[in-house]
Symmetry: C2
Subunit: 70 residues, 2 copies
DNA sequence: ACTAAATGTCAAGTACTTATTACATTTATT
DNA sequence: AATAAATGTAATAAGTACTTGACATTTAGT
């Protein structure tokens, strides 16, 4: 598959949610802390399922967290 | 990662788009025909990137194509 | 009925996502 | 300065997404 051009606003959303910790987010999203770290660092793009869970953890839509860069 | 609870409306969207063929959709989304077939059959869930491309091929949002069930 | 287009199946292989475990570093707090 | 909390790093391993290629079946048009 093509070069991933997906970026995310996880770091920003954590900030906006009273500086929610990575561990707290991981817990809510049902993944590990390391996964959150890697996502924030842009090391990879999550599966759709995890993306939906992260969005839900912040109470926003998937597209408010992840964007396809042209 | 958890059991994928993502379903899609690709078949329906193709129908609504004047019965766009799987090959035509694959071309627009930049994937193979076999991938479209497998997705319609629910054999797996696409990457976010492919999901965005498919949505774009139909001119709708990602969430209009893919839904997280419960 | 023929033919072509569309859809489906199968198998092998590559690349990526994510968990796990364990340790290191940075940033508060007191 | 000491401790604890938060963040970062790294390596292994398992499972999944997707391509490629080749062949089979179904559907539609003439």
């Amino acid at each position: 598959m093509p070069r991933a051009r997906i970026n995310n606003r996880i770091r920003r959303l954590r900030f906006d949610h009273d500086e929610m910790t990575q561990e707290e987010l991981a817990g809510r999203a049902g993944c590990t802390r390391q996964t959150i770290i890697a996502l924030e660092q842009g090391k990879y793009v999550p599966s759709i399922e995890l993306a939906f869970k992260i969005a839900r953890a912040f109470g926003v839509t998937l597209e408010e967290v992840f964007q396809y860069e042209e």
